[in-house]
Symmetry: C2
Subunit: 426 residues, 2 copies
């Protein structure tokens, strides 16, 4: 399957051929029945398990090449695929197979005064392009989510994971072949030419949506240049606001978990807001806990009065997505000041209020414009699995189409269906 | 409110100020209660009725200027606003006021194994930019739909309708003021500088979605250049397929209505497909009816055998959106051939099958990838009013976010809400 493109025109021709094959395959997978799609997912899972040794060894070759090329240790860490990782991938596919099939579901079918019945049917989007970096498990996860939703997929992984991705692609092909689905249902682009990404995001005729997964640089470039609609994930600058009517035990528990349960995830709290009236009670307790966990605090002047010795937060800290054991802390007058802070500095990802006050909880839920808004729960819950969506292809920070965790349903759309009996418009 | 921009920098500054004011207003209208929004809609309706004479006279000035500038008669026709048109506009606003308010609706709130409750809340998109041509009633309709959905709106009408649009804008301002909503909830751009459109579609920071309404040239330009997501409407190349298991009376009735009830609308049938086995029965009857209605037919060779004297359809005819009394007719072998034709030449707008066969109806509904698919009903039903959406801001031919007629709900999105009681992630 490897194609060595020598000129830009070769590459364009190669990419257009991929797009055309994906479009043709999308018509077949789009009408495939649930049983066939699930059988393919299970067959791919089995093929991955059977190929465990080959997958790990392909991954070792990528890791060796990466080390030789002096890649960043964090990147090498994300690149690694262990035997356990292969089993987890296979298990993920089995879970997607076990989920309900959203395709073809008809909702809201109602009679209209004219006598026609009008409803909406959930249908696949068509062809989905996924552009991602390092983590090879995305190859299997993304392919499986697209397949379950009845879409054809074009996958473009990072060049550092080329061997791993090709080995996984071979397992996907085995599973598709075993169930009679077209090989082009999932295509993995194997040219390392970076211009392939530019071609992919411009093919509006063949691709219905692009999902980029990776660092901010990649996503910003794709958003800027794409001619195809993009479902994207930018920053997660998440807040917890401890209201003065909070149960302070819950407040401490949630604020501690939201920061320390994992540091590098997009739903980790990056700024803690505390109502003035309870700051003196709650901040010294939390300050000690964070200190013991090794979290560096950067506070406003009022915070520093209560926690002497911590650094002063600058304007940039309020905007920061640290993805690290660092936390900005600000004392605010009340709920309105907290919501104003979130509207100004937040990234509309996930924000939580801790309060026992019904009216304030209700206002926070309605007025904070983020993809997830929470009452008395840790921001770390913002996740497709925790929300019951099954696997997720990402967390959208867009407002249109899909907002928050995107699972199988986010890879579908609704069309109108009209049932008549010879009805005409008068 | 008129601003005379002298330089590109002045214009940029003017547009950014509009965007910032819209963003600020969107926070207030986004949390406005249903009663206040409806009161504003009714107050605007009343203001329009009270200003009937002033509106008609402003429109007369636009028409006179348009005639003097030698505008196309079809364009002048769309530009005209009669006293009856003003009453219809006011009535439209009252109907939008009478519709349910979708904002804040929470659906699917369920307990998860962790103990949290997760659901989705319907919320406004934020700021919506509408770019349109000639028809001044769009100013009132679009403003009303955005307001009901809790969005701020920035409206940019055609320069030929400037006087009419400003007069309508004044009524909108009266209605907003009467109910205490911010004036910036609806802003009408009154510079005739065409670069204003370019600035508007680039302001991703202040505008969440652009809805263009107008000719294909306008929409293609905006889709190509926009940095803000666009909900757009391109071609309506709609098909009716008469299956060989059709009830031929229904077939004739629907195929006649789909073409002749109105010629210039996007949901009008442009190509009729007829199964070989019934072509000799149905085409002569329909051919006579179309001829009497003055519809020019262009057929494939088989069609011409049955309807001697009609023109031969070229490859371009299968792609054509005539918006005129012209119809392409093709005899096809069967359902599969009909669906293949629609997939190749259609525009994924609205397509109908006429059949009494359950299995074929079921396949057509599932497999035809159009925003509306119909069984035994006229394509002319593809309309927000007929579907029960109330007024529509347009019919989307996109797949993401909103597909088909877009009403108030299409101008909202869903965020996740999480209710806990001090829950943390383990």
């Amino acid at each position: 399957m490897t194609v060595h493109t020598e000129t830009a025109r070769d590459l364009d021709r190669y990419m257009i051929a991929i797009g055309q094959r994906a479009r043709a395959a999308s018509r077949i997978i789009g009408r495939a029945d649930t049983r066939t799609k699930n059988a393919a997912l299970l067959a791919i899972a089995q093929a991955l398990q059977d190929a465990e040794a080959a997958l790990v060894s392909a991954n070792q070759r990528d890791l060796a090449a990466g080390r030789a090329a002096g890649l960043d240790p964090a990147l090498l860490d994300r690149l690694e695929l262990s035997a356990r990782g292969v089993q987890a991938m296979a298990q993920g596919l089995r879970e997607i197979a076990a989920q309900p099939d959203p395709v073809g579901e008809i909702s809201d079918l109602k009679y209209r005064p004219s006598g026609i019945q009008v409803g909406r049917m959930r249908v696949p989007l068509g062809v989905i392009g996924i552009i991602y970096e390092s983590r090879p498990n995305v190859t299997a996860d993304a392919a499986a989510l697209c397949l379950k939703a009845g879409n054809a997929a074009i996958l473009r992984g990072g060049s550092e994971a080329l061997q791993s991705n090709q080995a996984i692609a071979a397992c996907i092909q085995q599973g598709l072949a075993a169930t009679g689905l077209p090989a082009d249902t999932v295509q993995v682009i194997d040219t390392v030419d970076r211009a392939a990404v530019g071609a992919l995001i411009a093919m509006a005729e063949y691709i219905d949506v692009i999902v980029p997964r990776g660092g901010k640089g990649l996503i910003e470039r794709i958003s800027r240049e794409a001619r195809v609609p993009v479902i994207k994930h930018l920053d997660g600058v998440c807040h917890v606001y401890i209201d003065d009517r909070a149960d302070l035990d819950k407040a401490v528990r949630v604020a501690y978990n939201a920061k320390t349960q994992r540091y590098g995830t997009c739903n980790t709290m990056e700024t803690l807001l505390v109502a003035e009236a309870v700051a003196a009670q709650v901040l010294p307790v939390l300050g000690r806990m964070y200190q013991e966990a090794g979290v560096e605090l950067r506070g406003c002047a009022q915070t520093r009065d209560l926690l002497p010795g911590i650094g002063l937060a600058s304007e940039e800290d309020w905007y920061a997505e640290y993805l690290a054991p660092v936390l900005a802390v600000r004392v605010v007058r009340d709920l309105d000041a907290a919501m104003a802070h979130i509207a100004t500095y937040g990234s509309a990802h996930t924000d939580a209020i801790i309060t026992e006050d019904y009216g304030r909880a209700r206002r926070f839920l309605r007025e904070v414009d983020s993809s997830s808004v929470m009452v008395n729960a840790s921001t770390r819950f913002a996740d497709g699995g925790e929300y019951g969506l099954g696997a997720e292809i990402g967390i959208s920070t867009d407002k249109l189409h899909a907002r928050g965790p995107v699972g199988v349903e986010g890879l579908t759309t609704l069309k109108f269906v009209v049932l008549g009996d010879g009805h005409v418009r008068g």
